[in-house]
Every structure is written in structure tokens, then in C-alpha cells.
């Protein structure tokens, strides 16, 4: 009887841990970083070598006044989200460019900016390989 109780108690503990990670962590990060999209996966090599395919980066909300040239930002577009570096700041729009690209992106409205990557010691915080789930699901979706 005790063995069965222990078995079910282990299941409850594991389920609680998974629940906290899957549900609680994004909720916590949303609150902490002030954005509905606190985590983003890198699915292309356009920001190489600063960001690699499969990286997971943290995004924090940022106001227009706090944006600077050189910041890596996430902005929303018709295709989804793009993570590129700010090349120019205009009055009503900003221009971004992928580090690995030769051309700049079309101007982006400030209202389309989701946030800026979280920095630590001057580099964007990235968790290698953790974004591969998004990369693979994007590939499956594309096929």
C-alpha cells in the first residue's frame, strides 16, 4: 500500500515540476520582462554569429525612447516575428538589418516592436539548442 502511495506521490511531484516549467516559467517571464512574448527561438542564420539557429533568447519590453542603434529587437510582421539589429532610428519608424544580411529591412513602425533581447555583459542572453523545437516545427509547417 505504501509503495502504491509513493508511486502516485512521485507522479504528482513530477507533474508539478513539469507544470511549473511549462506553465509557470512563461507566466513568470511575461510578468518579469513586461511582454507577452518573453521567449523567442532563432530559426534563421541572419543574425549569425551573434545569434545561432536553435538559440532561445529572452525578450524584454522596451519603450521607443530607450531604443538605440545596435540593439537587437523583435518586431512583428505579416510572416510572424523577426529578430534583427537596429541600423537607424527615424522619427516614426526604425530600420533593422540582420548581421549576416547585406541589405536593410523595410522600415518598421514603433508599434510593431515587441521588445529587445535581454543583455548580459554586453551580449544577448541566449540558451543554445533550446529553440530547436521551434526550428523543427517551423520546418514541418513549411513542408
Amino acid at each position: 500500500m505504501l509503495k502504491i502511495l509513493k508511486f502516485f506521490l512521485n507522479i504528482v511531484i513530477y507533474a508539478a515540476i513539469v507544470g511549473v516549467i511549462v506553465w509557470g516559467l512563461p507566466k513568470y517571464l511575461t510578468k518579469k520582462l513586461g511582454t507577452d512574448y518573453p521567449i523567442a527561438a532563432i530559426t534563421s542564420g541572419s543574425m549569425w554569429p551573434a545569434l545561432h539557429i536553435g538559440d532561445l533568447v529572452l525578450i524584454q519590453a522596451v519603450s521607443k525612447e530607450d531604443l538605440e542603434v545596435g540593439d537587437i529587437i523583435v518586431w512583428q510582421n505579416d510572416k510572424g516575428f523577426t529578430i534583427h539589429r537596429i541600423a537607424k532610428l527615424n522619427e516614426n519608424t526604425l530600420v533593422t538589418k540582420g548581421d549576416g544580411n547585406f541589405t536593410e529591412d523595410a522600415p518598421v513602425k514603433y508599434s510593431d516592436v515587441i521588445g529587445r533581447t535581454v543583455y548580459r555583459d554586453g551580449n544577448p542572453v541566449r540558451i543554445p539548442y533550446m529553440g530547436y523545437i521551434s526550428v523543427w516545427s517551423a520546418k514541418i509547417k513549411a513542408n
Binding site: G45, S46, W48, P49, A50, H52, I53, D99, G100, N101, F102
Partner: protein
């Protein structure tokens, strides 16, 4: 030793030998590319021993092809695994596929040097092509 233990040991030995054979039979390549200064410059190092993409300036690319020949009567499942700093720049036309019995197929590796290439740096990596025999359908 009980009979069930002997059967289990036998099964484990067969599995180990199968994995050992696949690892031994895998095609193993060193991949490399050198990022050079300039525009539209490409230097080719012709060799069949390595996946050598030569010298590439930003904006240029190089392609290398590896032929996989299956001369056996059993279909082969091919899996390409790669590591190293070149990995982010290297694209494959396919990574997992089946080569039917007594046929051949080709894998195309493309390296594109982006604008942010670290000039003068040699990017390297390892590529393993595993061939797993089995009743695969293509």
C-alpha cells in the same frame, strides 16, 4: 545464468554489434571554409578527402556533393549528423532519407558566407553520414 539472462545478453550483444557496425561504416568528413576579405572572391581547394569549401568572401557560396551508393540488397536509411562552427553556415538539401537497394543518391552541402563573416577565420566541423540497413520504404 538463467535462460532468460542468456537470451537478454544475446539480444544486447546483437544490438551492440549492429550499432558498432553502423558507427564503423559511417562516412566521416572534416568540413572547413576560410572567410576571406573582398567581394565575389572564391578559392577552391579540390580534394575528395574533406568537405573543403575553400576560401569564400562575404556574399559568395560553395557547393560540395557526396554520393551515397547502396550496392547491397537491403535499403539504407541515411542520417547526416554534423557539428562545429561551420554548422551554422552549412545547408543540406536533405539530412534524413532512404537509399533503395542497388541505387545511389547524392547529398548537396552548401556554404554561404554572410556579411558578418569573421574575416581570416577558418570555420571547421565534422560531418557523419550514417547508413542504417533495414526494411525501409522510400
Amino acid at each position: 545464468m538463467k535462460l532468460s539472462d542468456k537470451i537478454l545478453a544475446g539480444v544486447l550483444i546483437v544490438i551492440f554489434l549492429f550499432i558498432f557496425y553502423i558507427a564503423l561504416d559511417a562516412n566521416k568528413y572534416t568540413a572547413q571554409v576560410l572567410a576571406i576579405e573582398g567581394a565575389g572572391k572564391v578559392g577552391v581547394n579540390p580534394t575528395t578527402e574533406r568537405l573543403d569549401f575553400g576560401d569564400l568572401s562575404p556574399g559568395t557560396s560553395a557547393v560540395r556533393r557526396v554520393e551515397i551508393e547502396n550496392g547491397t540488397a537491403i535499403p539504407m536509411y541515411v542520417a547526416v549528423v554534423r557539428f562545429g562552427s561551420i554548422n551554422d553556415l552549412m545547408k543540406l538539401d536533405k539530412s534524413f532519407f532512404v537509399v533503395p537497394a542497388r541505387t545511389a543518391d547524392e547529398i548537396e552541402f552548401t556554404v554561404y558566407m554572410p556579411a558578418s563573416a569573421p574575416i581570416g577565420e577558418k570555420l571547421t566541423g565534422r560531418v557523419f553520414i550514417f547508413k542504417i540497413p533495414g526494411p525501409w520504404s522510400s
